[in-house]
């Protein structure tokens, strides 16, 4: 269980997060939606320990994650997988080496075991046979899938997705979403995703939270969010620039 209480973060005089409260049940897919520049990625960076809160509490499995440092922080991170917005693949390595990298560096496995798990990881994301190519030699959609394979290859308990479908065409968006859903069913990880792919994310989310003005203004199952009477939520879902939010 991830539990966030009263999370606040400001950069200079600009308040980005102004008391975020959120609970992410184990094994669920929780999607955070909200307008661009609304602090979704900043929020996610707090959950993965790249930013520290000004105040508030982030609990991961009962541990106050937001206050951890050094090895204690890394111990929690070992349970994480993260898919970055850009993929963040190491461009000096082949796709295959990118997927193998966390296995080589984090786990004591034989070469044969690593090769088996990398093959399985690439197969899971439908990329058998492209492993020897470098990230710059494959398409944007393939890069995202390699990033997903890399995030999942260590079989993490919690996987964070930072806008994993940004910049992809609608078909690829659905392909990636379907892939995440399928992998989630198979591997049963807890997923926290930041996205503004409306309405596609309603197909895969167990819970959706709307981040607006630095707070979660609405949280619930997709159907409840879609039926919400909150004008901010409705404006975002409809993509209506003239509504009075």
């Amino acid at each position: 269980m991830i539990r966030v209480k009263g999370l606040r973060k400001s950069f200079g005089r600009q308040t980005v997060l102004n008391g975020v409260d959120l609970e992410v049940p184990d094994g669920s897919i929780t999607v955070i939606i909200g307008r661009s520049g609304g602090g979704k990625s900043v929020f996610l960076k707090h959950l993965i320990g790249l930013l520290r809160p000004d105040s508030g509490r982030i609990e991961v499995g009962g541990v106050d994650f937001g206050r951890l440092r050094g090895r204690a922080l890394d111990e929690v991170r070992k349970r994480y997988g993260v898919v970055f917005q850009s993929g963040a693949l190491f461009d000096s390595m082949s796709c295959r080496d990118n997927v193998a990298f966390p296995l080589r560096e984090k786990l004591r496995l034989s070469r044969a075991d690593i090769a088996t798990r990398v093959d399985r990881g690439l197969e899971q994301v439908g990329l058998t046979g492209i492993g020897d190519k470098y990230p710059e030699e494959v398409s944007g959609g393939m890069r995202k899938r390699v990033a997903i394979a890399r995030a999942l290859v260590t079989e993490p308990e919690i996987v964070f997705f930072d806008e994993p479908t940004t910049g992809l065409d609608p078909v690829l968006v659905n392909t990636i979403h379907r892939l995440i859903l399928e992998l989630h069913r198979r591997l049963r990880f807890t997923a926290v995703m930041v996205s503004h792919e409306i309405p596609e994310i309603f197909e895969i989310a167990d819970r959706v939270g709307m981040l607006h003005d630095g707070r979660i203004v609405e949280l619930g199952p997709p159907a409840a969010i879609q039926a919400s009477s909150n004008p901010v939520v409705q404006q975002f879902i409809r993509g209506d620039p003239d509504a009075g939010a």
Partner: protein, 264 residues
């Protein structure tokens, strides 16, 4: 950004204060960056392949420029010192003059400046691009220290390769001086090398060694620091690269003067 609550008459002081805080913060971050890198160097497990990769990147790939600039520096020294010494009838001291200039001063300084231009700038740009494409963040969230994987190997490689490249620069430079002084201007080979053995001792070699070693730390420290903390996309990478080269070059010259005053 000016605080509207501050009286207009005090605003220059507000700006001065903000600048002072920024300087102190930057110096603190610069120092703690090196301390983090040092602690990453001594903490197991030790990574041999990243270190060999960095040695190849900083050292081996700078060889051509080192050999070229070393040869021409020696040749210029040979020519200019010969012409100067010939006014006093002291051409016999060409060998030691060239060797001492190179070993004590020009070798370490010019080799460091050349490597800063070739490898230091590339180091900053590489780390900067890794920062803006979230590759450094990816390492961090994998619970793998970017300091251990990216920064520490570069600094160790600097410590190893700078003295070696300086030695090469010195040797090639001395032969460049030989080419001009002996082969072109007619000084005897025995005089060139014989006088060198008389006047150059281990203290001079060690002075050059300590200088090159410290330049290796300075250049890799500055260049990795500038790349590690890049922000604002491609423009930020370009700025950081320029700043890294300028700051490294200035620090090399300042530190060279300082060491020149304290080393024998």
């Amino acid at each position: 950004m000016t605080d509207p609550a501050v009286a207009p008459a005090l605003r220059p002081f507000e700006g001065l204060g903000r600048w002072a805080i920024w300087i102190i913060e930057s110096l603190g971050r610069f120092g703690s960056f090196l301390l983090q890198a040092l602690s990453a160097m001594v903490a197991p497990p030790f990574k041999l392949w990243p270190l060999l990769g960095r040695i190849h990147y900083i050292g081996f790939r700078s060889l051509l420029i080192i050999l070229l600039t070393g040869a021409f520096t020696g040749m210029v020294l040979g020519l200019q010192i010969f012409l100067t010494l010939s006014r006093f009838g002291s051409e016999a001291f060409l060998g030691p003059a060239v060797a001492l200039s190179l070993i004590r001063e020009l070798g370490p300084v010019l080799a460091a400046l050349m490597v800063t231009g070739r490898a230091g700038s590339a180091l900053t740009a590489e780390l900067g691009i890794m920062r803006i494409t979230e590759q450094i963040d990816a390492l961090t969230v994998m619970a793998l220290s970017p300091m251990r994987y990216l920064v520490a190997p570069s600094i160790i490689a600097g410590v190893i390769t700078f003295p070696l490249m300086t030695a090469l620069f010195d040797v090639v430079g001395i032969f460049g001086g030989y080419l001009v002084g002996v082969e072109l201007l007619g000084l005897s080979e025995g005089t060139y090398f014989g006088e060198m053995q008389t006047f150059v001792d281990l203290t001079d070699v060690m002075t050059g060694f300590w200088k090159s070693l410290s330049f290796g730390i300075i250049v890799t420290w500055v260049c990795t620091y500038k790349g590690y903390y890049v922000s604002r996309g491609a423009e930020g990478v370009a700025q950081a690269t320029t700043q890294a080269v300028v700051l490294s070059s200035v620090l090399i010259l300042v530190w060279d003067y300082f060491l020149g005053t304290v080393l024998p």
